[in-house]
């Protein structure tokens, strides 16, 4: 009985799934009279159950060795697919984090979706995400990770396409689905190829296998490159990052989840696969440089955005890039802590800006200003979120970034430079966000801006409280790096860059006298970053154009060559009939001639062998 909750931890995804199903009847087409609100309440209740269950399970497995559960899913000749679960402090802790964030987000959504009828759809999709992510963190099998990733890709498509009467939503959902699908498909190639090579899909066994594996370097390179393609798309890394920008067309509460936990599904798989990725040095380099380029590029793009949600979405890409760097350099433990602290900070940032967008309508940063005196709670939340996202002691991310920076300082100073730059740029971007929204004079749209409903403020403040407690929690869990062993210059440089970024952002954006809109450098460079390095155009002239031309060519080939050939046979038969009927001339004498010709030919054919022709 002592392990009742950890033994039944597989129930956690089930609660959410049940919640997803129970929410559906309140769709406007089924229950027509009472409105959609019970869908949300049911879903929140099930999420609460899942959260409590995972907390209790976490308490049981704390300081315990990981337990493994296994269910047989499919047993066919020579292939035995089992659903393996790992019940350890990390996985159950991740499940608790996911369910907890979901709980707060769903409460937040009650307020946010006040004027919306689509609660059943929204809540069942959010619950589906919760179930998928809980299963993803609990499952210990690459195959089922892939299954869940695919289901979540479909879920992204549906939840981004929530308000599908808006054309941008439809294109955004399309791009989100296709981009993530491409990555998943390449991942599937690797998943399928890994089974004959390694003989297992179990992460634990894969790690053991990877220690002694003796692979052809080419095979290892291709395999690992395919394995990282899935996380690259999932985590919105360059060059598959456009979908996250366009996914910002979806509902704001879903954005909280997307920016924090959903993009981390890819990072989770990447971390789990880290032992396998070590097989190929090329793959590690690719992970590192994809992460580094994304981190720098996305933080620069973030500075040039004028849309609140998009400022944050590019920061998501940047921080996932840092996770990639951590995984590429082999710091899985740091990557996990970074994910944990980042999740809390980013959810706080999205929540605080969401409440402001809800009752100021516009997402355009250039129309904001002077909210500080009217929206102090949101402002403080934004500040706390910003502080805890960058390396600002003693808040959360500082510890992860310092640990990572120390490691990189010793091993790869170039990457440490990247980390410093990203930290500074993100600090600048956040200071700009705060300055444009809360600083300056009130504008027309912020003139009357009340603080949100208690349902909106409560989860936000809850997350803020949690954010502030993150360092204490890390201390409690003995996850803090030992400061005495760290290089002081690393800490100094990181904090200096953070303060630099904040200070520079404040000088530019909190200063009334600085000309707005701000001009840095040449206009084309500013446009280059504001338009996301023209990625949309890049897709259009490369892959979309290519696939378009190929599909047109194939369509043309089918339509005219293949179809035409078959039609030609029919046409030739028809024409043959049409023309051969003129043999029936209606002249008796012609028939006689035909008979005579036939008879003479027959006789000739009979006679030729008898003639004994010898020339």
């Amino acid at each position: 009985m002592t392990h009742l909750f950890s033994q039944t931890v597989w129930l956690v995804p089930c609660y959410a799934l049940i919640g997803a199903i129970l929410a559906i009847p309140w769709s406007p087409g089924f229950i027509r009279r009472t409105g959609p609100r019970p869908a949300g309440y049911v879903s929140i209740f099930m999420t609460l159950l899942a959260f409590l269950h995972s907390l209790l399970a976490l308490k049981e497995v704390w300081h315990q060795a990981p337990e493994y559960l296994s269910f047989s899913w499919l047993h066919a000749a020579g292939l035995n697919i089992t659903l393996d679960l790992e019940v350890s402090a990390v996985t159950v802790g991740a499940a608790a984090l996911i369910t907890g964030l979901n709980l707060l987000t769903q409460i937040y959504a009650i307020a946010y979706l006040e004027m919306d009828w689509g609660w059943a759809r929204f809540y069942s999709l959010v619950a589906l995400f919760e179930a998928g992510m809980c299963l993803l963190v609990l499952c210990n099998s690459l195959f089922f990770s892939y299954v869940v990733l695919e289901i979540l890709t479909l879920g992204t498509y549906l939840i981004v396409g929530m308000w599908y009467n808006q054309p941008l939503v439809v294109t955004g959902a399309r791009d989100a689905f296709l981009t993530k699908r491409v990555g998943d498909l390449v991942l599937l190639m690797a998943v399928v190829a890994l089974l004959p090579i390694a003989g297992t899909w179990n992460y634990t066994e894969l790690a053991q296998w990877a220690q002694t594996a003796n692979l052809d370097p080419k095979v290892a390179t291709f395999l690992t490159l395919a394995l990282i393609a899935g996380p690259i798309a999932k985590c919105a890394q360059f060059p598959l990052h456009l979908w996250l920008d366009e996914a910002m067309e979806g509902p704001y509460p879903a954005t909280i989840l997307r920016n924090t936990v959903i993009v981390e599904t890819g990072a989770w798989v990447l971390i789990k696969l880290q032992p396998v990725l070590q097989l190929s040095p090329v793959a590690s380099q690719v992970i590192i440089w994809v992460g580094a380029v994304t981190a720098i590029g996305a933080s620069l793009i973030s500075i040039a955005q004028i849309d609140i949600k998009r400022v944050l979405s590019y920061l998501v890409s940047a921080y996932m890039g840092l996770v990639f760097i951590a995984v590429g350099t082999g710091q899985t433990q740091t990557a996990l802590i970074l994910i944990f602290t980042y999740t809390i900070a980013m959810s706080l940032l999205v929540m605080s800006t969401g409440g402001i967008v809800l009752n100021n309508i516009s997402q355009n940063l250039t129309q904001y200003g002077g909210l500080w005196s009217r929206r102090p709670i949101s402002g403080i939340c934004l500040l706390v979120g910003a502080g805890s996202l960058v390396a600002l002691p003693p808040l959360g991310n500082f510890w992860a970034l310092v640990e990572m920076g120390d490691f990189l300082w010793k091993t790869q100073p170039v990457l440490f430079g990247v980390l410093l730059a990203v930290n500074g740029l993100c600090a600048f971007s956040l200071a700009r966000l705060f300055g444009l929204m809360f600083g300056g004079k009130p504008t027309d749209i912020t003139l009357r801006s009340p603080e949100g409903l208690w349902l909106l403020v409560l989860p936000m403040v809850g997350v803020m409280g949690f954010t502030l407690h993150v360092p204490l929690l890390l201390l409690q869990w003995q996850l803090l790096p030992d400061l005495s062993t760290l290089n002081p210059s690393v800490i100094f440089l990181l904090v200096f860059l953070t303060l630099d970024g904040f200070a520079l952002g404040s000088i530019v954006y909190l200063n009334e006298n600085w000309q707005k809109p701000v001009r840095f450098g040449p206009q084309f460079l500013q446009d280059f970053f504001a338009y996301d390095l023209y990625t949309e155009k890049l897709y259009k002239v490369t892959i979309v154009l290519l696939v378009g031309i190929v599909s047109k060519a194939v369509y043309w080939f089918d339509r005219f060559i293949v179809d035409g050939f078959v039609n030609l046979v029919g046409l030739a038969t028809v024409l043959g009939g049409q023309s051969l009927r003129y043999n029936i001339s209606g002249q008796t004498q012609f028939y006689v001639l035909s008979i005579l010709l036939g008879v003479s030919l027959l006789l000739f054919a009979i006679a030729v062998p008898l003639l004994n022709l010898s020339f």
Binding site: I584, G586, Q587, T588, Q589, F590, V592, L593, L596
Partner: protein, 103 residues
């Protein structure tokens, strides 16, 4: 030059060819019947030639020729009667007018 079987056969073949030509090309139905008579005569020439040169004792060919003549006469009678019947209906004996089966 001595008369040989080949000459008879060649003459008969030539006559047969002329008959065929007339049979195919004539537009007048009576000329078609006349061409058939040519064909039959060519056959008779063959029969008599063969009986003369190859079977001078039993002369079975000549008996056949008598039968062919008889049947040719009968066929001509029936043929002319058919042509007459058609003429009474169609008011013409042009072979190219008798094309009920034209596509």
């Amino acid at each position: 030059m001595e008369l040989q079987l080949q000459y008879f056969l060649l003459l008969a073949a030539a006559l047969f060819c002329i008959g065929i030509y007339g049979l195919i090309t004539s537009r007048n139905a009576v000329r078609v019947l006349m061409s058939i008579e040519l064909l039959l005569n060519a056959v008779n020439l063959n029969l008599i030639g063969f009986s003369n040169f190859l079977d001078p004792v039993a002369i079975k060919g000549q008996v056949f020729a008598v039968f062919v003549l008889t049947v040719a006469a009968a066929e001509a009678a029936v043929g002319l009667a058919i042509i007459l019947a058609i003429y009474r209906n169609r008011e013409t004996i042009d072979m190219e007018q008798f094309n009920l089966l034209k596509w």
